[in-house]
Chain length 403, copies 2
């Protein structure tokens, strides 16, 4: 474990508090920032990291920069992704293209919503920040590989979690069956590592090693997630929930940044700092995503209000609330001990218990703390504020601080 | 598609016939040759390939050489496999070590039956045949990678096929659940490609590319297999059944031989010939395995007599029988159109119909033909009979011609 990663698993309880300027997260998607449109942003200003105010603020006026970076990443990586997927055997290609939103279930072309390309954008923007435009161009294959790994895990996670909807469409297993979804995931993992194996760039082997390590960490995170689902809420600790979120969400964002740094020829130290930057930003994202999963607007999230609570999900705010030792925690534990009682009343009482037990405040303070750490890591690897501006914009975007 | 591979999909119906000298296949395992012990060998002598008689016969007196090669491969590759698996996150490690037979379900050490290491032996023996002992030593990581890929596909196939038993033990999903079995498979694939990515050998990148391509072909084979299961027996053609068997079984044996050749610094042409050798031998193995699946001795196969027929499996002899246009084919089609009628009588009638429709003879003739082609490819890449002896012994062993 790198020093940066050790840091990420310590100091779970920041003392800072958050000031909420408006309604929390009315957006939610499986992709960080997918539905951002300027309404109801999550505000984490109360703990504005000093490094941001002092050095980077001018670079992120309103999130426009992030939108441009994401659009450019999509444009750079899509031809590589499409070419790679066209090399798949036909049945895997059909399932994968459906999953990416590029085909309908019957194989006809679809306008597509393959997500906002956060991970490819992190690869390319990291490469550019540390190595300039040439490094960005060289890293396009690596960006595609990261996106393929992300989508392989989504395909498999949906099978394991029996999630029937993703990006507002039936999931691949719901359309093609478990076997084809598992096989398409397997093939996408192979395709990702093949892209790097066939890449003559001197960083390709180190990138492949790192990406394979990341896959194993993602698997461990998904294992922890599914294993926790089967345990009593009171038995799940905050530390293990945070460790699960880091493995399941932080690891791939960190890997994306590290791969960009590798393709820029960065030092080992800078590669690790970039990994830590992505991890911390990823954890901040997960915390905010969990907040939105409870208090988000169903018209924006695409899920029924309080879906996470109805499923008795042990999300971060819930586990923090249960661990708070407050009277509200006891009431919450009681609610979570019985299955969801259909109707709005159960959900409202549960959400209120989480809030009264401090779960909402904790999650927001923790998210702010993670963002502060992310900024510190970023400043270490990319001291020039101008060069770091794009990465800062992306980090803010995924945590929905900006739109 | 290489010329060798095109050859493998043509000329499906050899005209040669086979003479049976004894009872067919009283052995069956998920691993080629696993239970070979000298009793009731499958005899394919009727179509002894000329190249074997003329050049290689002295090298394979009784299969002893294959047993030694397999034992040596196991000894070489196990430390690499164990070291790699020890780097897995704990939950994946537990599932993977159980699957390999190295741990019981409770995590205590087990004596283990990780299979006969056919694929690692093919990697190492191919490397030695083309590059000598130094190449064999250099190829140990590649041999471990191939074995990891094989086991990743077994873990996933068992989930998809709902197979509850493997190597005489409950399958991983039956013990740990679907999610952990899927995740352990995902992690083993990552581990396999990581071994090659971290290998400084000049052939490692080409080997990783080839292995990733092979994974995609294995997925396609498994897809075809599961898709065929859902179709009416009469709709499945012999050509597509053979193509499925080549993708599902032949591809990885071919890849193993090709990787050995790559690590020996062989020419592209020799690498392709070695791939074709492994593919053809793999198809011969599958044909014989299907014969044993119908007429094998349940005390040796570990499965109830006629399990494939009871499951109405569209194995190669069955599909050949159904396509024969004989009166027995019509009777077989009728039997296959209705679910298995518990009891020995149904199975005996079905097996007899397959035999009368020529399915057994066809499968044996086809297996002999595939072995002849394998020998031709081997002679092309390794003209020296002495150097080729080990590979010939392994090919004979997996098709149970020798013991």
């Amino acid at each position: 474990m790198t020093e940066a990663r050790r840091g990420a698993t310590e100091a779970r309880h920041p003392t800072g508090t958050l000031e909420r300027h408006g309604p929390i997260g009315t957006q939610r998607e499986t992709e960080p920032g997918t539905t951002s449109d300027g309404q109801g942003p999550v505000v984490l200003d109360g703990q504005e990291p000093a490094v941001v105010s002092a050095r980077h603020e001018a670079a992120v006026p309103d999130g426009h920069e992030a939108v441009v970076l994401l659009r450019e990443a999509r444009a750079s990586v899509d031809p590589e992704l499409r070419s790679a997927m066209n090399s798949l055997p036909s049945s895997m290609r059909r399932t994968a293209l459906y999953h990416f939103g590029w085909q309908h279930a019957d194989g006809t072309p679809a306008a597509g919503n393959a997500g906002k390309a956060i991970r490819p954008a992190l690869v390319l923007t990291s490469a550019a920040a540390l190595g300039g435009p040439g490094a960005r161009t060289a890293a396009v294959r690596a960006a595609a590989a990261v996106e393929l790994v992300h989508n392989f895990t989504l395909l498999h996670d949906d099978v394991m979690d029996r999630d029937a909807t993703r990006r507002h469409r039936p999931t691949a297993w719901a359309v093609f069956g478990d076997a084809d979804a598992i096989l398409a995931g397997d093939a996408l993992q192979a395709l990702a590592l093949r892209l790097l194996a066939a890449d003559p760039h001197p960083a390709a082997a180190a990138a492949a090693t790192r990406l394979a390590d990341c896959v194993m960490e993602l698997c461990e995170g998904q294992h922890a997630d599914t294993a926790m689902e089967g345990r009593a809420p009171g038995d799940v600790t905050l530390d293990e929930t945070l460790a699960m979120a880091e493995a399941k969400t932080g690891a791939l964002l960190g890997c994306a940044c590290a791969l960009g740094a590798l393709y820029a020829g960065a030092t080992d130290e800078d590669v690790e700092a970039m990994d830590a930057f992505g991890r911390e930003a990823g954890l901040a994202f997960q915390l905010i995503d969990d907040v939105i999963g409870i208090w988000g607007d169903p018209r924006r999230t695409g899920k029924p209000a309080g879906a996470d609570l109805a499923a008795r999900k042990k999300s971060l705010p819930v586990v923090a609330a249960l661990a708070s030792g407050t009277p509200a925690a006891a009431g919450l534990a009681e609610l979570y001990a019985t299955p969801y009682n259909e109707g709005k009343e159960d959900l409202e009482r549960t959400a209120l218990a989480v809030e009264r037990a401090g779960g909402r405040d904790w999650a927001q303070a923790q998210a702010a703390d993670r963002m502060a750490r992310a900024m510190q890591e970023l400043a270490r690897a990319v001291p020039d504020p101008e060069a770091a501006g794009g990465l800062l914009a992306l980090a803010e975007f995924v945590t929905r601080r900006s739109t």
